[in-house]
């Protein structure tokens, strides 16, 4: 027992001495730098910056003439992409026009309201454009004359933060394409 007690005391002493050492040490060297050493400076650091990359995007002119506004937008319910009853008359007009004007094609833009995040909404816009296309195909329009693009919530029709505006933004928008598609 006595030996054990001594052993414990020794261990305790060793541990505590270890802790004491920790506080005294400096952040770099263990010894204090002399005044002379302090005078020695490292080589000065020169701050530079690479010249900024500046690129001007050249947008190539479109070879296709676009006509917007010939047909009104069709609207969708929140988070949904199924074709509503009130959209069907417009879609009938679109398909009638395309069936009659065989040299024209159509671009369907799928859009969302501002709620939710950009990338997921691009997926939802894709779904709305696709549902619209599928409906036009079911009315007899050849799919080769239909192009689709999603803009998600990036190109809203209106900018107010109201239910009324949001409803108008959840849409498929039609653009007639004349010329090479």
């Amino acid at each position: 027992m006595k030996n054990l007690f001594v052993a414990v005391t020794v261990m305790l002493a060793l541990s505590l001495s270890g802790c004491a050492k920790k506080q005294v040490a400096g952040p770099t060297e263990m010894q204090q730098p002399t005044a002379a050493e302090q005078q020695v400076k490292k080589a000065p650091e020169k701050i530079t910056e690479e010249k900024v990359a500046k690129v001007e995007t050249k947008e190539l002119p479109s070879k296709v003439e676009e006509i917007s506004g010939m047909f009104e937008d069709i609207l969708f319910d929140f988070d949904r992409y199924d074709i509503r009853e009130d959209a069907k008359p417009v879609l009938k007009k679109v398909s009638d026009h395309l069936i009659k004007n065989t040299a024209q094609g159509i671009l369907i833009e799928g859009h969302c309201d501002e709620r939710g995040t950009s990338e997921y909404n691009l997926g939802l816009g894709d779904r709305r454009a696709k549902a619209t296309r599928d409906y036009l195909v079911s009315l007899g329009v050849p799919s080769s004359r239909i192009e689709m693009i999603s803009y998600g919530k990036e190109k809203p029709f209106c900018n107010e933060h109201t239910e009324e505006c949001w409803a108008k933004n959840r849409r498929s928008h039609f653009v007639i394409m004349k010329g090479k598609m």
Partner: protein, 429 residues
């Protein structure tokens, strides 16, 4: 009999006590040779009181102000008010002048402006009354802020042992009527400039790990393409284009390859694409929308969003597309995962009460923490040390770029009012 077992009990307890002493003893060996000024890994109960004195010479206050803002934002320092300082900037350091006001570290400097800025800075330990370092910095006068940020980085390294983020940048998108364009600025929102890259719509730029390239998506001429901006070559290159909506995701540690999502085959799916071989590989095949892939720091895992279970939630999978696991289960809308460069947390945007808020969670979905509660907050991105997050918020009306500490403290806007800015991404260096 009883006496013997009592003795054994005591022996046992003593052994356990000795063992625990030993473990404490051995674990303390690792920092035995370094004074711990700020232990960056322990919860910050107490900020280190630091005095950044005005520098003597020209621009005497400009450089210290940048340093103070930098150190203050980390949440680790208590920057003492200069009105309390006793010692004049040009007088030599005297311990008692600073211990009297409670400072534990002091920064003093001297500026000369002959065509170039020449700055000599010293950092002092007040308690030990000695200089920790003295260093000289030079730059053109127009680079005063980067010079000050470099000084702040050196102070931060000396006192925490960690690399500072004060020379990092944030890239983001600015929206004007008719077009979007890419902007770059310092992490604190200063020195912003246009990169000249634009499109009818642009989405979140993604950095290469060495900071030399940006990958982004842009809609131009009715087509969604993925573009790579190379700072070294000063060029923009279209690296991927196809029918459908193509959205750039992160670059892998080897920047020849990146993840992306595309609806070219119908629904949005996640793909990897190798630039040099134009090799496209599909990773997901669900009937849902799979978007926003984010790569883990070692490149082995991909976090992404999928609504395959009915609502948008966050999943992880291996970089080959296997072992898909759902990791968010609370809330009906969890999107925009962004992996911390430290690998220990994922930030994301989740819908709460009809609005989007920034959360962080562990990569297995546990320990979800909400960080924002005002307005709609989206597009989170971590700083390279994982201690700060940049994000977009419309809390002030228009969408703007904000920064905050990764625990939600110190939220502040870094883009000016009146411009619509979003999709920020913190540089890796």
């Amino acid at each position: 009999m009883k006496k013997r077992s009592a003795l054994q009990g005591t022996k046992c307890r003593v052994v356990v006590f000795l063992f625990s002493l030993l473990s404490v003893h051995f674990s303390s060996f690792s920092d035995l040779d370094a004074k711990v000024y700020i232990d960056i890994n322990s919860p910050a109960f107490r900020k280190l009181p630091i005095a950044v004195s005005d520098f003597s010479g020209t621009f005497g206050r400009d450089i210290p102000e940048v340093i103070i803002d930098d150190l203050d934002f980390t949440g680790l320092f208590l920057c003492l008010d200069r009105s309390a300082f006793i010692e004049a900037p040009s007088n030599p350091f005297q311990q008692r002048n600073w211990s009297a006001i409670g400072a534990e570290a002091v920064v003093k400097g001297m500026v000369r402006n002959d065509r170039n800025l020449v700055v000599v800075v010293s950092l002092y330990d007040v308690i030990e009354g000695r200089e920790l370092f003295r260093k000289e910095y030079q730059s053109e006068p127009s680079l005063l802020r980067p010079l000050a940020h470099t000084i702040a980085n050196d102070i931060y390294m000396q006192l925490t042992g960690q690399k500072g983020i004060f020379r990092t940048r944030i890239a983001y998108v600015v929206r004007k009527s008719g077009s979007d364009e890419l902007m770059m600025g310092d992490w604190d929102g200063m020195r912003t400039y246009r990169m000249g890259v634009k499109g009818r719509v642009m989405l979140g730029p993604r950095w290469a790990k060495d900071g030399s390239k940006l990958l982004y998506s842009s809609e131009r001429n009715r087509q969604w393409g993925i573009y790579l901006l190379d700072f070294g070559k000063m060029s923009e290159r279209n690296v991927f284009i196809s029918k459908g909506t193509n959205i750039a995701g992160d670059l892998f540690p080897n920047p020849d390859e990146f993840v992306m999502s595309s609806s070219k085959e119908g629904n949005q799916n996640i793909y990897t694409f190798k630039i040099s071989s134009s090799q496209l590989k599909r990773l997901t095949a669900s009937r849902g929308i799979d978007v926003t892939p984010s790569i883990s720091p070692d490149g082995s895992l991909i976090a992404f969003v999928s609504d395959r279970d009915g609502s948008p939630q966050i999943f992880t999978m291996s970089r080959e597309g296997f072992d898909t696991k759902r990791i968010t289960f609370s809330g009906s809308y969890n999107t925009s995962p962004a992996w911390s460069p430290k690998g220990d947390r994922i930030a994301f945007s989740g819908r709460v009460g009809g609005k989007n808020q920034i959360f962080t969670m562990n990569p297995d979905g546990s320990l979800m923490t909400q960080l924002t509660d005002k307005g709609n907050n989206e597009d989170p991105s971590f700083s390279p040390d994982g201690r700060c997050i940049t994000f977009s918020s419309d809390r002030d009306g228009e969408k703007a770029v904000y920064i905050m500490r990764a625990n939600g403290e110190a939220q502040k806007r870094i883009t000016p009012k009146g411009i619509k800015a979003f999709a920020p991404r913190w540089s890796p260096n």
